[in-house]
């Protein structure tokens, strides 16, 4: 399969701009070959890189206010759109293509989207946090560009045809007079091959969702035919002329440093090009991958032993004992008083382990560093920030760095994509040739930025009617590093090994009083008012509330992992809500609704319950035997990030009380993310999130010994295999065409763990407060039943 020729996708303007930005046409051609669109197939080639179909784009990067940075109409009338939000396997590429086609009233097939290349596309920062749908589908950025372009084209057509704008109709890229369709002009005639030369118009009117013909439809994803037939180009498939292969040699233990590197140990090995050592970063470069693997395995490096690690089995106690950065999310200052003399107090502690992204593919990148210039093909979510962080790692000006996104396997957050990009860049710099690096499974798993472990203490005060009158939440979580952003390459292991420091929480106690309300981490439970001063942003009714968090320094790198902190907190909140309901013998759905105020959160709870034919009664389920297999159901809900997607799930499980095994039989997921851009894409995200959540709830935990991480492959970190028992998944999509677009990639994963734990309680009367819900923990909880 020949790669696409990216130059064909660029107009002379674009090429001139590329040259002005320091990338010569020849080197652009040489280095990127094609590689603009990310995949190539016979069928797709024509629509993805039709010669002459683009593009008058400006290449002016950052947060561009210029329409030409986002949308270009080719001389043939085809549309090229530029986005800084990247496809990660979640369907965004297709949904964004739909968005542009819809706003411009052109057929889906005539829109070509170029994504995430710092030399070509608008700087949209990092593709993360379920923020792409909110960012590009509301009245801003790509959606606004589409609306601005349509209005600009209508204005020009109006002048040209002498017909008022409101008397014009648009269809398939042709504008005509409603009264006389023979009076018409095409987009190509109006602006084809030329710039708009206009700014985004904040007042440009989006198309009314009732008129949608492309957006809102279950259009199949553009990449899937190429993926299913082995033709899709992942970052792992990027091949550059003259490319060599690198392999890194990571430390054997956390905190180990290089004492010496014996280059003679690999002297004369076939294909070996160079041994590279820079502070504690060690790697080899060879002509072929297998040669690099052999050399890296044989290279003799002497390491210091490292300082040792806190014990795994008492780690949650360790967290409580550490110096911390204390923060209040809410503090009504009356919680202690309410807890002092209530009718009843309920309290519980929840524990969550470190988990890892454990991406299916190990991380891979290709870099070509020549003097002060670097091109990096990377699967990072942080394409634009990486321009600067790579420059820092290499010690070159950031102007000389170009980062080109290529998809890898699902990342679910800050996996190894950033660190391997630095690996490839460092090794390429050392040899002056393009170098490809793909990590080993162990190097990926032992050193990635883990999702946070948590200890969460919960207490509530109840009044005589069993209603909650005060909620007290206190948590401890370990942090080290995070995304590198544009100035902290030490936040991932490679940057650290070459001498940059990771971010650590700066100790702070006592916590300052909160000054505004935000619930980005979902540390605040859904059932409180979320009032800070006069501002109340919560979704519940409980007025007395205190949420105090303690960030402590982690022994391992940490970073965002799908629903970071939000899953951990939601497991604790939603498990606890169930415990409270059980303590007053209330039905879990009814009891939630009693404390909720937000109508949309109420609606997802009701929808999930209704679809699941929820039986109104308290847990545990009456009549279940205390041996053998028993069934139960549980519910949980969240407003993700406090403002970014409503979701509720009902889980139905069977628990084998003899083995402790949990078999999840059914999920019903109700979701409201505002307007639905692609219902099948949304369902795929909810289903995938549910199973990802199941895997994390039942199986996944990072382990370590006194010096090193021991969960380093699929035997020692075993997730949900394809052949495993998987539940049926029903999704209930609540479409709100007129509401603000919200995220949907991380809602379902957030609510699953608590729903399963609640269902296990319903089935057995045993409460498990620690993830993962392993058979041993189930059996221990069963044994502890009254």
């Amino acid at each position: 399969m020949k790669p696409l020729d990216s130059l064909k996708a660029l107009t002379p303007d674009a090429l001139a701009a590329l040259e002005q930005s320091g990338v010569s046409r020849r080197s652009f051609l040489k280095r990127s070959g094609v590689l603009v669109v990310g995949f190539s197939t016979g069928l797709l080639t024509s629509r993805l890189a039709a010669p002459g179909s683009a593009a008058a784009q400006r290449l002016d990067g950052a947060g561009s206010n210029q329409l030409d940075a986002w949308i270009a109409i080719g001389a043939d009338g085809n549309v090229t759109a530029y986005t800084g939000k990247c496809e990660l396997g979640h369907g965004l590429f297709t949904a964004q293509t739909q968005l542009v086609a819809e706003e411009l009233s052109v057929p889906f097939e005539r829109v070509k989207l170029l994504q995430c290349d710092t030399a070509l596309t608008p700087d949209q920062g990092t593709t993360s946090g379920a923020q792409s749908h909110p960012t590009n589908f509301n009245q801003a950025n790509l959606a606004l560009a589409g609306a601005t372009a349509r209005e600009a084209l209508l204005q020009r057509a109006s002048s040209q045809l002498g017909v008022a704008v409101d008397q014009l109709a648009v269809k398939d890229g042709v504008i005509s007079a409603k009264a006389d369709p023979s009076k018409k002009v095409s987009y190509a005639q109006l602006v084809g091959g030329r710039k708009f030369n206009t700014e985004l118009n904040r007042a440009a009117k989006r198309k009314n969702p009732s008129e949608w013909t492309v957006l809102g439809k279950p259009i199949p994803r553009i990449e899937i035919p190429a993926m299913a037939t082995g033709q899709f180009e992942y970052v792992h498939n990027v091949r550059v002329p003259g490319m060599l292969h690198g392999r890194v040699v990571r430390p054997p233990a956390v905190g180990s440093t290089v004492a010496s590197v014996d280059e003679s140990s690999v002297a004369g090995m076939p294909g070996l090009v160079k041994v590279v050592a820079k502070k504690n970063f060690v790697g080899v470069v060879a002509e072929k991958p297998w040669q690099a693997i052999q050399a890296a395995g044989k290279l003799k490096v002497t390491w210091t032993p490292g300082p040792g690690l806190p014990a795994h089995n008492t780690f949650h106690d360790y967290l409580r004992s550490q110096t911390a950065r204390d923060t209040f999310a809410v503090n009504s200052k009356d919680v202690d008083a309410k807890l002092a003399s209530p009718a009843k107090v309920v309290k519980a502690t929840y524990l969550y382990p470190y988990q890892m992204h454990a991406s299916f593919a190990t991380a891979c990148a290709v870099a070509d560093v020549q003097g002060g210039k670097a091109t990096v093909w990377s699967a990072t979510q942080a394409v634009y920030p990486m321009k600067n962080s790579v420059a820092m790692v290499l010690g070159i000006p950031s102007d000389g760095v170009r980062v080109i996104f290529r998809m890898a396997s699902g990342c679910y957050g800050c996996n190894g994509a950033d660190t391997v990009s630095y690996d490839a860049a460092l090794l390429s710099q050392a040899v002056g040739k393009p170098v490809r690096v793909q990590l080993t499974r162990q190097d990926e798993m032992a050193w990635e930025n883990y999702g946070l472990a948590y200890v969460i203490d919960q207490r509530v005060a109840l009044d005589a009617s069993g209603t909650i009158v005060a909620w007290d939440h206190e948590s401890w979580a370990p942090n080290l590093g995070a995304r590198p952003g544009d100035n902290a390459p030490g936040n991932v292991v490679t940057g650290f090994l070459v001498g940059f420091q990771p971010n650590v929480p700066a100790p702070r106690t006592p916590a300052p009083e909160p000054t505004n309300y935000g619930n980005n981490s979902n540390a605040v439970p859904s059932y409180v008012t979320g009032c800070v001063g006069a501002q109340c942003g919560g979704t519940g009714k409980i007025q007395s509330q205190r949420v105090l968090t303690h960030d402590v320094k982690s022994p391992f790198f940490t970073g965002p992992l799908r629903a970071p902190a939000r899953l951990q907190n939601t497991f604790a909140h939603e498990s606890f809500m169930d415990e409270i309901a059980a303590s007053v013998k209330a039905d879990p759905v009814e009891y939630r609704l009693r404390h909720l105020a937000d109508p949309r959160l109420i609606e997802v709870v009701k929808s999930a319950a209704k679809t699941a034919s929820w039986e109104t009664r308290p847990s545990p389920r009456p009549g279940n035997r205390r041996t053998g297999i028993v069934a139960g159901r549980g519910i949980s809900c969240v407003l993700y990030e406090g403002d970014n997607g409503y979701c509720s799930v009902v889980a139905e499980v069977e628990v084998n009380q003899d083995t402790g095994a949990i078999n999840v039989k059914r999920f019903v997921v109700a979701n409201d993310c505002g307007p639905i851009s692609n219902p099948d894409g949304l369902r795929n995200q909810l289903e995938g999130g549910a199973l990802h959540g199941l895997s994390r709830a039942l199986f996944e935990e990072v382990t370590w010994d006194d010096r090193k991480v021991t969960s380093i492959d699929w035997r020692t970190y075993r997730p949900l295999y394809v052949g495993a028992d998987v539940p049926s998944i029903e999704t209930v999509l609540i479409n709100r065409p007129d509401a603000r677009a919200m995220g949907a990639g991380e809602t379902a994963v957030t609510v699953i763990a608590a729903a399963i734990a609640n269902a296990v309680y319903d089935a057995t009367g045993a409460r498990i407060r620690q993830i993962p819900l392993t058979p041993d923990r189930v059996k221990a909880a069963l044994a502890a039943r009254a």
């Binding site: 399969m1 197939t41 016979g42 069928l43 797709l44 396997g89 979640h90 199949p220 994803r221 899937i224 035919p225 190429a226 993926m227 299913a228 037939t229 082995g230 033709q231 899709f232 180009e233 992942y234 792992h236 498939n237 091949r239 292969h245 076939p270 072929k288 991958p289 297998w290 040669q291 052999q294 991406s359 299916f360 593919a361 190990t362 998809m407 890898a408 396997s409 699902g410 793909q438 080993t440 499974r441 795929n684 995200q685 289903e687 995938g688 999130g689 549910a690 199973l691 990802h692 199941l694 492959d713 699929w714 997730p719 949900l720 295999y721 394809v722 052949g723 495993a724 998987v726 998944i729």
Partner: protein
């Protein structure tokens, strides 16, 4: 280094490599195929699966010297975007993937199994896929696609 003859997707290739080189590296780097993928290098995930003489094998663990002379089929050898193999079409129809990185292992394992066991029950198919991983959670869609394909084979 030594020369090995491989018949891959109906074409003959001669490669000059270290005999211990796993087949996967020959396929991905010497032949630049995109179907078989490196996921773990340990035979634990299935992403490198190819069909050699009718048998699904893990190419990351198979030295090229072991398969010299074998007839090897990779994902791209089954069908194309324009003319996908029925099992590939079933995955496309069901939109049975997210990142798509695992589908090589799922499709190749399921196809090799169903070729030999066309009347397999769903539990048997799942057993065959017990060593194949997906991290995006497309499990239910993939199983639906395989079922649709298997029914087509039986029909």
């Amino acid at each position: 280094m030594a020369n090995f003859n491989l018949r891959v997707n109906g074409r003959s290739h001669t490669v000059d490599v270290d005999p211990a080189t796993p087949l996967l590296y020959v396929l991905s780097d010497d032949l630049e195929l995109r179907g078989p993928k490196f996921g773990c290098g340990l035979g634990q995930c299935g992403s490198c699966t190819v069909i050699a003489d009718g048998q699904a094998i893990r190419s990351c663990m198979t030295p090229v010297s072991n398969v010299a002379g074998s007839t090897i089929t990779t994902l791209e050898g089954l069908g194309t975007v324009e003319k996908p193999h029925p099992i590939q079409k079933a995955f496309i129809d069901e939109q049975a993937m997210q990142c798509g990185f695992c589908v090589n292992g799922v499709i190749m394992t399921a196809k090799a199994f169903l070729d030999k066991n066309p009347k397999a029950t769903e539990p048997q198919v799942r057993q065959a896929l017990s060593g194949v991983l997906c991290r995006c959670g497309a499990h239910t869609r993939m199983l639906r696609a395989i079922k649709a394909y298997a029914q087509g084979v039986k029909a």
